[in-house]
Each structure stands twice: as C-alpha cells, then as structure tokens.
Amino acid sequence: MLKDTLRQYILENFLFSDNPSDLADDDSFMEKEIIDSTGILEVIEFLEEEAGITIEDEEMVPENLDSVNRIVRFVERKQQG
C-alpha cells in the first residue's frame, strides 16, 4: 500500500510523469537523478505524514532512502520496531 502511494508521489512530484514505467522500484534516486539531496527532505516529510513515523537524523542515509524498495523496507522495519 505504502509502495503504491510512494511511487505515485515520486512520479508526480519529482518526475512529473504519469507513466509508471518511468520509475523502477530499485532505481537509485541519486544515480538516476530522480531526487536530489534537497528533494530527499521532501520525501522524508511525506513519509512522516503518510506512515506516521519519525525519522531520526542518523537514519537519513542512502541505505534507507535511496530507492522505493529501500524506503519500503526501512519503513516496515521502523513500524515493526
């Protein structure tokens, strides 16, 4: 569920596209220049609102946030923890 909402959010707000094939779930946001460093803060704000979590400073790293799949896994871990 989060994955679909997140994909839609990134497609519309960063790629300005309504074509789902423009974004693969493992695409690196940085390498593919989909979301830059300042844009990640917008994604964090979106995740905090959407998933009801708080992301700590030390969690703001590419390992957690640099693709759709990484974000989904990270949020799931947070919600379970």
């Binding site: 596209s17 300042t38 400073d57 790293v61």
Partner: protein, 633 residues
C-alpha cells in the same frame, strides 16, 4: 542611457525611415526626453534620448564638421572631459556632449578610438567617407546592442522589441535556448532569437557598404597575477582607483542617487560618495518575508553614512501584477522573479526625480565574491582525493543554510556536488553544479526540444565562443572569466540591471566595472581575492574601519525574491492561464503533461523547493515571453 535603432545600407526612404521611427517608438522608456530619426546616404539613424549630460546641445545624431561622420550612442563616456581636453587644440567642438568626443576621437584614431573610452556604451558610427559603419559595445556589456541582417542591410537596436517593431519576425533560437538553460545567458553573439545577434561585450562589428560584415574583439578579461605583490600597496592603489571610478561616474548634469543593498559592495560605493562630498540619497528594496529581507543592514549603513534613505517594500502582489511587464522588459524567460522587484525599485528612483543611480554590481565577478568560486575551489581540492569524507564536508561550511545539511551522510553531499568532480580541466568546471541545477528545467520542455537541447555539447560551444585560451587559467580565474562573460552581461547587467532600470528611464552606473579596476584585479594574486574561503578579501581589508563591523562580517546573502508565493498570490489568478493546456499547445515549447503535474503540485502547496520555484517561474515566464515576442506559425 538612451535607446538607439537604425538601418545601415541601402534603404527605401518611403518605407524605412517609418520603420526606424517605429523601432525608436518601442524604446521610449529608454529615452523619453527627445526623439530623432535622421536619414543619411546609406543609413537611417534613430535616437531616443534620456538627457543626462549636456542638456542643451547633446541631442543626437552628432556629426563631424563636414557631416561625413554621424554617431548615435546609448550610454556614457566617463572620461570625456579628459579626452576633450586632449582633442581640443585640434578639434572644433560644437557641443558640450560626450557624444561629440566619440566623433572627434574616431577622426583621429579610426576604429581604435574605442580603446580610449572609459564608459558604458552602445554606439552606431556611420562613416560616409569610408562607406562603412561600426556597431560598438562597451567592454563588459552594460549597454545592450542587437542587430540582424536583412538582404544587404543591417538593422540594429538597443532592444529586440525594437527590431520586432521594425518588421523583423522573431523566432526562438534553439541553440540560444540551450545555452540559456545551462548558463543563464545565450553565448554571445548568439541570442534567444534566430538570426538576431548581439554585439558581444568588448567587440565592434564593421558593416561595409553592400552588407559585408566582420567583428573584432578590442578588449577581454586578463588574469595575470603578480604573486609577489604587496597587499598594503595594492590596497592603496585600489583605494585611489575606486575613488576615481566613483568620481567620474558622478559626471552628470542631473542629480545622482545610489542603490544600497546592505552588503559590502554598495556600502563601499557610499563610503566614496561621502569622501568625495557628493549628495547622498539611497534606495533599497525590502521584503515582508525575512528570508529575502536585508533592510536591517540597509538601515544600519544608511544611518552610518547619514544618507536620505528610501525603502521600497516589494509585496507579492506587486511582483505578480508586474511580472508580465518584467518579462517584456527582460525579453527572455526568467528562472527567478528577482528582476521584478528591481523594476519596482527603479520606479521609486524615477518617481523621486532621479535619472541616475550608482550600484555595487560587478564587485563579485571582479573580486571573487560568489559562492560559486568557493565551490569550485573546494571541488578542485576534493577532486585530488575523491574518496575523502572530510574534503566534501567543507561544502557544509559554504552552504550552512541548505536544508540537506540535516542529511546525515556525505553520500548526499557527493550527490549534490560531485558532478564531473574530477574533470577539472573543463572550461565550465566551476559552473558544473549550477548548470546541473538549472538544466533541470529542460525536463519541462517539449520532448522534441528536450532531446535537441540534451544533445548539445555546452562545453564545446563555450570553448568556441569564450576562447580556448581560457582553458589554461587556474580553476578560480576560469570560473571568474566564465561568470564575467556569461551570467554578468546576460542576466545580472541586463535582465536584472539595464532592462529593469531603463523600464523606468533610470541609468545604472557601475564603479566596480571601470575597466581600470577590472584590469587591476586581474593582476592581483588570487589569494588577495579569495583568501582561504574568505571572499573579496582585499575589498574587506579596504573597507575595514569605514563600514559598520556587522556589515563587514555578515555572511554574503544572495539577492532573491519570492517566486511561487508571489506568482500564485490572489492578485495574480489570471496569470496562470498562461499554463493552461491550450496555451501550452499553442506555443509547443513546454511539455503539457509535466506542466499539468507541476501546477497540481503548486496548487497543493507542496512545491517549496528551489527547483520547484525555478521550474514554475521559468515555465510561466517562457509562456509570457512566447506570447509577447515569438511569431508562432
């Protein structure tokens, strides 16, 4: 400043003098005091005058005694009194104007006369004897001058809108647009208009009878640091130079005021005005949003120098309602709204009875003030050890205000600033990050246009237009050079400078762009400009003791204005019609689907990033610009 326009070559007297009249009519804002169109053998010359020097006899064209030479000219020759004294024993002047000095100098030196001028100028000189004309532009590009060929004739004008009024159908130039969306300016002599060139700063164009043309550069920036220079001696030398640069820029038969930004450069100008004993009336912009406002510093400096100070509060509603007019005067799409408040400011200056203001523009380019220069230095330092975690961390010091500093990983810093990190030999190395940021707007262009522009090699074009010799410069000087040849004339001095000033018939004067100051700075060791990461080091040393400590020590604040917040305010609801699917389709320049999603994001209130603001402002201004200027088939 004034407006000039004309036709060089064989012309039809039944048609073409009327065309030049129409062209000059479009330049009324540049010269509301007097108009004249003069027909000569093989040229029609038009002039719209803003009377500043020699109010009685300074109307143009000015002729040589035998009538063979005629000059129309926009600008000021600041050393005209000294030149006149040199020429006077041999030359029978009939006016008191600086324009006649141009005629007399040309009679003595031929086209090399231009090297004797200290000023800001766009000149058309018609030489009936030699059957040729010259279009000449000042060294750094303060005064604008455009031209285009029409069979065996050449049309010229201070602004492109005058060429349009003269019957030239304007088409968008894709290469010019490609340069623009990377460098904020077309690479001169190219423009945003197909078939229309500008006379590049520091160049003249010769037009012979029959239409044969050639262009030559008479001046360029030079960086030859004298590394053993003594700092104290150089400060003394700079002090004398700047004082003289300010002194001769007070030459006017009308009162002169000054802009005050609250930063170092305009404050230094004020310190010289005070020393010279000039009348001190200052004008500043303020904003309701604290993120853009510098009024506390402006007031402090104004109080320090006891100026009669005027503040213009730029409200969002005014930025919005004036935006169409801003684009009209800028004659190009805009990445930011920041020119709009500058037009409000010049309006206040005009309303207060002034025609001339001194400003601090140019100091950042000449003395190394921009963050971009520091960024280039850090990136070069980092490139020597690309895996280092510490070296990119210096960038956090450079941009402490950027939100992404919250991100707890150097990977994000590397993502933001690592682009082309190790390609230090490129001409545009120092500009790589700005180009990457700005070129995001390409994504919003129509797919055909997007593909063409993505395929352009901007580095190659820049080397060709700016000169391969610049590749041998150190990274810092290379970045200075590119900035001085692209953004400064193409945006700072034009869209944000001359065009917004002249929109209200006000002339800007720039002491830091006196060529003697620029040449002096080119001989300084780079450490006297950028000392570690301290910008404009020698200027700060010079100003120590003259300016309030708070102004000297404050971090540099780039001039910005609200973009989306202003453009979408209630007063401006009609403006967004420019981005309707129908309007987008009409011009075929933007991507309809992406613009719809951008608008959706803007309306949701989530479009807050620098990139969103830039994209929205660019999209809106592009549509307005297309409506106003481009002939759509």
């Amino acid at each position: 400043m004034c407006g000039i326009a004309g036709i060089i070559g064989e012309y039809d007297p039944n048609v073409d003098s009327g065309r030049v009249r129409a062209m000059i009519g479009q330049l009324q804002h540049r010269g509301p005091d007097h108009f004249r169109v003069c027909e000569r053998e093989s040229a029609v010359l038009g002039h719209a005058r803003l009377s500043i020097i020699d109010l009685e006899t300074g109307d143009q064209p000015v002729f040589s005694r035998d009538g063979a030479i005629a000059v129309v000219f926009n600008g000021e020759i600041y050393n005209y009194l000294e030149l006149r004294r040199e020429l006077l024993p041999d030359y029978p002047f009939y006016t008191e104007s600086d324009t006649e000095v141009i005629v007399a100098l040309y009679e003595r030196y031929g086209i090399d006369f231009v090297e004797h001028l200290n000023g800001q100028f766009a000149i058309c000189l018609h030489d009936r004897r030699q059957q040729r004309s010259y279009l000449i532009r000042d060294r750094v590009g303060i005064a604008p001058l455009y031209y285009c060929r029409e069979s065996n004739r050449v049309l010229f004008a201070s602004e492109v809108k005058a060429l349009k009024a003269g019957g030239v159908a304007l088409q968008m130039d894709v290469e010019g647009l490609g340069d623009y969306v990377h460098l904020w300016a077309p690479l001169s002599p190219g423009t945003l208009y197909r078939g229309i060139s500008e006379v590049p700063p520091g160049c003249w164009v010769e037009v012979k009878q029959g239409g044969e043309m050639r262009s030559e550069r008479y001046w360029n920036y030079a960086y030859r640091p004298e590394n053993d220079a003594d700092l104290e001696e150089r400060i003394e030398e700079l002090d004398a130079l700047l004082q003289d640069a300010v002194r001769i820029r007070l030459r006017a038969d009308v009162p002169v005021a000054a802009y005050l930004s609250g930063g170092l450069d305009s404050s230094i100008i004020l310190s010289y005005l005070l020393r010279i004993g000039a009348d001190l009336e200052t004008f500043s912009l303020s904003f309701a949003d604290a993120a853009f406002d510098e009024s506390a510093f402006q007031r402090e400096v104004a109080a320090h120098f006891s100026t009669r100070h005027n503040e213009v509060l730029a409200r969002n509603e005014q930025i919005a309602s004036g935006f169409t007019g801003t684009v009209w005067h800028a004659e190009s799409p805009l990445f930011r709204t920041s020119p709009a408040p500058m037009k409000l400011l010049s309006g206040q200056v005009h309303g207060s009875g002034y025609k001339v203001v001194l400003t601090g523009e140019g100091a950042d380019e000449v003395f190394g003030g921009y963050d971009l220069f520091k960024e280039a230095r850090i990136r070069e330092f980092w490139s020597r050890s690309p895996q280092s975690r510490c070296r990119p961390a210096l960038l956090r010091r450079l941009y402490p205000y950027l939100d992404f500093n919250r991100l707890n990983s150097t990977a994000y810093l590397k993502n933001a600033f690592g682009h082309q990190l190790e390609q230090t030999g490129r001409l545009l190395y120092g500009h790589a990050i700005r180009m990457k940021t700005t070129s995001a707007v390409i994504d919003f262009l129509h797919p055909d246009l997007r593909e063409t522009i993505r395929g352009m090699d901007i580095e190659e074009r820049a080397v060709k237009r700016l000169g391969a010799e610049a590749l041998a410069l150190p990274v810092f000087n290379r970045a200075q050079y590119v900035e001085a040849r692209t953004l400064m004339p193409g945006y700072i001095l034009s869209s944000q400078g001359d065009r917004m000033l002249m929109a209200n018939s006000v002339e800007g004067r720039y002491p830091f762009l006196d060529h003697r100051v620029i040449e002096f700075a080119g001989r300084l060791p780079n450490r006297y400009k950028m000392h570690g990461l301290k910008e404009k080091f020698i200027l700060k040393k010079l100003a120590a003791g003259r300016l309030p400590r708070s102004v000297l020590d404050r971090p540099k604040q780039p001039y910005r204005a609200p973009d989306i917040d202003a453009l979408t305010c209630a007063a401006n609801s009609d403006l967004l019609d420019c981005l309707s699917p129908h309007a987008i389709r009409r011009h075929g320049v933007l991507d309809e689907g992406k613009i719809a999603l951008l608008l959706k994001k803007v309306r949701s209130g989530r479009a807050n990033s620098v990139k969103d603001n830039m994209m929205f402002t660019t999209a809106l201004s592009t549509q307005i610009w297309m409506d106003q200027f481009i002939t759509t088939h």
